[in-house]
Symmetry: C2
């Protein structure tokens, strides 16, 4: 008898009909001979509604009270889902995160799970009950309810699999799995059968949001194989697993697994910065201090003891960055700062790159042949990202997707 953890996202429990549908799905899995732990998110827009309520009270809410407020969303889901399962004749019990024995560190709003005491869940599984656990929440050392950050229910599911040594981790959402790229942009994007933790992390960092990145990190740490699949179909989804297992399964892995893109980028260029040692460290140190997360950085070669530095930040950080750069330009007597909001990041991701050095060159050539100018480049072991004009983004994604052989239809490769 296998132990399965099934996690359902908010859109899967947003109304009574969907809750009943999910209940039937859970019961079917139980009747197939499994023990079941369910993790649920808050229904539909509940979390956003609660955030809006808080925003009407104050723009600067206490983090502890915010967590107290937000945790109610998942409690609504678990009780309604448990009622639905019970009404269909199966034994069931709901548990809040704290009741399920999930403890976290002292942080709020992005608390980290420290330990899971699975006794209460095990007792209920032994009584043949389906256990429905509220995702996204935990108990901190003070006895407060805390939350695990956006998408934290994925983390709850993965952590429960690790703590209970469950056999399967199934993350259900309204998409069929992880795609080679966003199917809304490239119609013949394919569902990926298998992807490694690291690829998944690189894809999440580059804009694809199927799973919460922290949940993937924890899955990697504890070797939890995740099956990301759709609530509303029986199709196989995407398995997120170790590189080793993927290599064992496939004789030959693809060069590139997926293409991602991110419009939420702004490029700043500081022109004629004095070429003095430590100046870059000072600038980026100060941006880090005010909470600006700098993504890509390019420094041009020095000419006349001056050089240019370009870097990208998220769009929500434009104002903060601009204000800090205004001060910096005065201090360092810099002539000019240019801000370009019309850029986008396009990335190719794949563990195949590790053993194949030509991928970067291939990417640049594809873009060059289509007349797409590359403004900045950054690379990791399994990812290459380019900043391009946002008007070129969709074309770049489509061409890369086709040329790296990811489309359903066969195209000629370069």
């Amino acid at each position: 008898m296998a132990l399965v953890v099934m996690k359902f996202g908010g859109s899967s429990v947003e109304d009574a009909d969907k809750i009943k549908f999910v209940a039937r799905k859970i019961i079917a899995k139980k009747k197939a001979g499994n023990k079941i732990i369910v993790v649920v998110s808050a229904p539909g827009d509940t979390t956003d509604d609660l955030l809006e309520m808080a925003d009407k009270i104050t723009s600067n809410p206490l983090a502890r009270e915010m967590d107290m407020l937000l945790a109610t969303g998942e409690i609504i889901s678990i009780s309604l889902l448990a009622m639905a399962i019970d009404s269909m004749g199966e034994k069931v019990i709901s548990m809040t995160g704290p009741q399920a024995g999930i403890t976290a560190d002292a942080g709020y709003m992005r608390a980290r799970i420290k330990k899971i005491n699975p006794k209460k869940i095990k007792d209920q599984l032994a009584k043949n009950s389906i256990v429905v656990v509220a995702g996204f929440q935990a108990l901190n050392p003070k006895g407060d309810i805390t939350t695990l950050g956006r998408g934290g229910s994925d983390l709850t599911a993965v952590a429960l699999v690790a703590a209970l040594e469950a056999d399967f981790c199934e993350i259900y959402s309204d998409v069929e799995g992880v795609y080679t790229t966003d199917p809304r942009v490239v119609k013949d994007a394919k569902k990926i059968d298998c992807i490694s933790y690291d690829e998944m992390l690189e894809m999440a960092g580059s804009g694809a949001q199927v799973l919460q990145p922290r949940s993937v990190e924890v899955a990697k740490k504890f070797g939890v194989e995740i099956h990301s699949r759709s609530t509303f179909s029986e199709n196989q989804g995407t398995i997120i697993t170790s590189e080793e297992k993927i290599r064992r399964k496939k004789m030959e892995s693809l060069l590139v697994s997926g293409i991602t893109f991110d419009k939420n980028q702004v490029k700043f260029t500081i022109i004629d910065l004095p070429d003095v040692p430590g100046v870059a460290a000072k600038i980026f140190g100060r941006l880090a201090k005010i909470g600006v997360n700098v993504d890509m950085i390019i420094q041009s070669a020095a000419v006349d003891k001056k050089n240019d530095i370009s870097f990208t930040v998220s769009k929500q950080d434009i104002k903060k960055t601009q204000m800090e750069l205004d001060k910096i330009t005065i201090e360092f007597k810099v002539a000019n700062v240019v801000c370009d909001e019309h850029v986008a990041k396009v990335s190719v991701v794949g563990i195949g790159m590790k053993s194949n050095v030509g991928v970067a060159a291939q990417m640049f050539e594809i873009l060059y042949k289509k007349g797409i100018n590359i403004e900045m480049i950054s690379t990791s072991e399994i990812k290459i990202s380019c900043i391009v004009d946002e008007l070129d983004m969709v074309k770049a994604v489509k061409e890369l997707h086709k040329s790296f052989g990811l489309s359903k239809k066969k195209y000629e490769t370069l």
Copy 2:
């Protein structure tokens, strides 16, 4: 420095503006030199909305899951109110019922408070924090969240006053206090300054719903003086206290404190029931078994070894009662059962009756003089209730209110 428990009902925290208003009121009381514990209900219609959600899932929800669901309403209130208080610069912490140390018996949906461990609240009061506690909820011996029944936040407030030996118990709502009768029916109804626990209980049982009856029982048991008052005015409300204290305050207590009425009544009459010992016990025993709460009973004197029995039940129990009576008429070979839905109960309540035997006679005479027919009568030590035609109800209430000298204007008494 006094310790004050302030309880706010759902209509006092139904939107952001009201929550801020309540926060200011709480802070003003703190700044006047008090330590403050606040108890809140769920905002506005939240509890009804949650009930409706559950109803869409199943008509027969698990009680444990219902309590899990309903408890979220008050958690939303405490977190938002704590955010508001914090944003105004006062130290504050919210606590769910379980966090506040409130434990209950094993029942669900109408759980009874067993014990309060006030350590956590005391610690926070010592740190000069305002403590905001979720009303209506407790922790049961299994570690489940349970609820205390409709109006249970009043009970939470009274129990906290008793456990913490607080100096004041202030129950805020959208009415100014307890009135001599419903001001919507009798325009010159007066706010009552002082009323005894027993009078309050009789008035609640007769239709006046300012405080949850169980909270009044607990207040009586522990000698907690309740001040029922309006959130939205600074006027003195009504003090609910012991008869002894009232007698000490007033040299001469009024004969009658209030007039109540209740349209939610149905009268059944079983005609020609065999006059055999134990037959009434059997009938009412069976009604009790199916959960029908019988209020008033009249048995006529036996004629030809047969007699009639009339009794009243709440309107929501009509169907259940009728179905049971159908069986009973066959078993006891009774000719006929008559159901009259067009009745109402009118009651006069007052501790003054204890020392004055003429009140019942006076009540009957007032009704007789106005041509109002009395169909049934029941009396307790401090209450007399009459069943009348529902068309006569308002007239009866107005006449009794005037004739017992409760109106603001002076009328001639009988």
